[in-house]
């Protein structure tokens, strides 16, 4: 049953993703990509459990490394997206810059 349930979630999310992204204008494609890239760092959540299991096995080492890399992905991704989006400005606030 677990399998069916997870697959159900998976299929619905794919469709949801298609619907959400289809409407993004091309002006925003780069921030969209880096922003969604940051979301893919969600794997961090999975890494936490292995890193914290404290059984000193390879699993802990793998988990810790995974936490580090996923955090780079998450923190870097969100920050750089924010930096980019802050630059998108509407016409003229006073003309000269």
């Amino acid at each position: 049953m677990e399998i069916i349930f997870l697959t159900f979630v998976f299929v619905l999310s794919i469709f949801l993703g298609f619907e959400l992204i289809n409407k993004v204008p091309s002006t925003l494609h780069t921030p969209l990509m880096s922003g969604s890239n940051a979301i893919s760092g969600i794997t961090l959540v999975g890494a936490l459990a292995s890193a914290g299991s404290a059984n000193q096995s390879l699993a802990t080492i793998l988990g810790t490394l995974a936490v580090a890399f996923a955090t780079i992905n998450v923190v870097g991704g969100y920050l750089v997206t924010d930096r980019m989006l802050a630059m998108f400005k509407k016409k003229k606030q006073g003309g000269e810059s």
């Binding site: 998976f10 091309s26 794997t43 059984n55």
Partner: protein, 454 residues
């Protein structure tokens, strides 16, 4: 049991935040808020996961998070906007690597079913090829290694062999799953090799497709890891990213009039000999360019990757402002595949303070291109090449282009008469209404700006 319920309820909330975040990314007015909301979703998901009773030691977690956050923050702050494609490629790779490791570590969980073993292998496979593919893409983009497509005769054969080997090793592993199974190491190694083989034949102007595709893979890798450890939020977030990447990939392919399969497997074919174009180019100097621009009512800039290389975006914006003051209508016409990643030019121009309502898409500018007095092509070549419309023998025939040749006058800023990235001749340079402004794009524009100011 009750913490598990709390954790999952918070996951639902964070999924909702991701959805709203992505939705708000759809408009420049709300995009920044959307990104913050999505970050908040990530934050609560991470915090609530720490409540999990399986987590007993926090030292390693703290170590990993501090290290990762430092590296990520520094990279995000330091990167130049021109270097954005490389950075996104690297981040993709790290995400993939993390998913590989999460999958691998999940093997140590007791009582995995065969279905779980399969999803573990999937997360290792997708994560591994995302990682090695992204590192290669990063190398190509930052020109650490030759960015051209590498195609060799037996490529398909070799790829097929690798795929077969992957399937065989995976089956062998599932028959007798063990954390030290030699087949596990074989799958990891093969996944890494396959990632390299997948990106190797793609080069230069096709890079936007690769980045979109790798973006999609990094999401799918997270999704597979979610299956491996029975975690809903990984599946939801991962598959939304996967879908987003696939849509972008599709848009990029359409903008180049090529199928995904063609991009993935054949490199950029100089298969057919394009009709040789010959003619006389009409060079002008900055003084003449100034006189023409001064009289223009409507000016459209068409930037390409060359603008990024020359770092000309700031002088371009300055010229745009002067032209506006002079009474001209100024637009920036951006082809979907201009630059090295989707939307690359938009970001560069936004950085230079060009308001986003002046950025127009190809479909919007083409119907009224004949009313544009001067189209200024800066460092773009293939995306304005009329051979894509007229010459059936051209390798880029059928690709939608910005029809600058139909504008009243076209300025082409170019270093010299070499052909563009894909090595295709461009009849635009010999058009009656085309004027060539040779030299470094930044210096050429700066010279015109100087004329305006005197």
């Amino acid at each position: 049991m009750s913490t598990e319920i709390i954790i999952n309820l918070v996951y639902v909330a964070s999924a909702v935040l991701f959805i709203f975040g992505l939705k708000l990314l759809g408009s420049p007015d709300t995009a920044r808020r959307g990104n913050l909301i999505s970050a908040a979703g990530m934050f609560i998901a991470v915090v609530v996961t720490l409540l999990d009773q399986k987590i007993i030691a926090y030292e390693y977690i703290a170590l990993g998070i501090v290290l990762g956050a430092l590296v990520g923050a520094v990279a995000a702050r330091k990167v130049a906007m021109t270097g954005m494609p490389e950075l996104v490629a690297l981040f993709n790779g790290f995400g993939g690597l993390a998913s590989l490791m999460v999958g691998w570590a999940a093997l140590y969980n007791a009582g995995n079913t065969t279905f779980t073993d399969i999803t573990i292998l999937l997360s290792i496979l997708i994560g591994g090829m995302t990682f090695s593919g992204s590192i290669l893409a990063w190398g190509k983009l930052s020109e650490v290694i030759n960015s051209a497509a590498v195609v060799f005769g037996a490529q398909r054969f070799v790829n097929a062999l690798i795929l077969i080997a992957i399937v065989v090793c995976s089956v062998m592993f599932c028959l007798e799953p063990a954390v030290d199974s030699p087949y596990l190491y074989a799958v990891i190694a093969l996944a890494l090799i396959f990632g390299v083989m997948a990106v190797l034949p793609i080069g230069g102007a096709d890079m936007p497709v690769v980045i979109s595709l790798l973006n999609s893979y990094s999401g799918l890798a997270a999704c597979a890891a979610g299956f491996a450890i029975n975690n809903n939020i990984l599946i939801v977030a991962g598959s939304m990213v996967g879908a987003a990447g696939i849509i972008l990939t599709n848009i990029m392919c359409k903008a180049m009039n090529r199928s995904l399969g063609h991009v993935l497997f054949s490199g950029f074919g100089a298969v057919k000999e394009a009709t040789k174009v010959e003619g006389e180019v009409k060079p002008i100097n900055s003084e003449d360019a100034f006189l023409i621009l001064e009289a223009a009512q409507s000016v459209s800039f068409v930037p390409g990757y060359g603008m990024a290389v020359a770092q000309a975006q700031h002088v371009v914006r300055e010229l745009g402002e002067l032209l506006e003051k002079n009474g001209a209508e100024v637009t920036y016409a951006i082809h979907p595949v201009a630059g090295r990643m989707p939307g690359h030019m938009n970001v560069l121009l936004a950085e230079a303070n060009v308001p986003y309502d002046q950025l127009v898409e190809m479909e919007d500018i083409n119907p009224r291109i004949d009313k544009v007095d001067v189209a200024v092509v800066i460092g773009a070549n293939d995306v304005v090449n009329p051979a894509a419309r007229n010459d059936e023998n051209s390798p880029i025939y059928g690709m939608p282009i910005i029809n600058v040749d139909q504008a009243q006058t076209v300025f082409v800023l170019k270093r010299s008469m070499a052909s563009g990235f894909s090595g295709v001749d461009n009849p635009l340079f010999f058009g009656d209404n085309t004027r060539m402004l040779f030299g470094d794009a930044k210096q050429s524009i700066a010279a015109v700006v100087a004329e305006f100011k005197t």
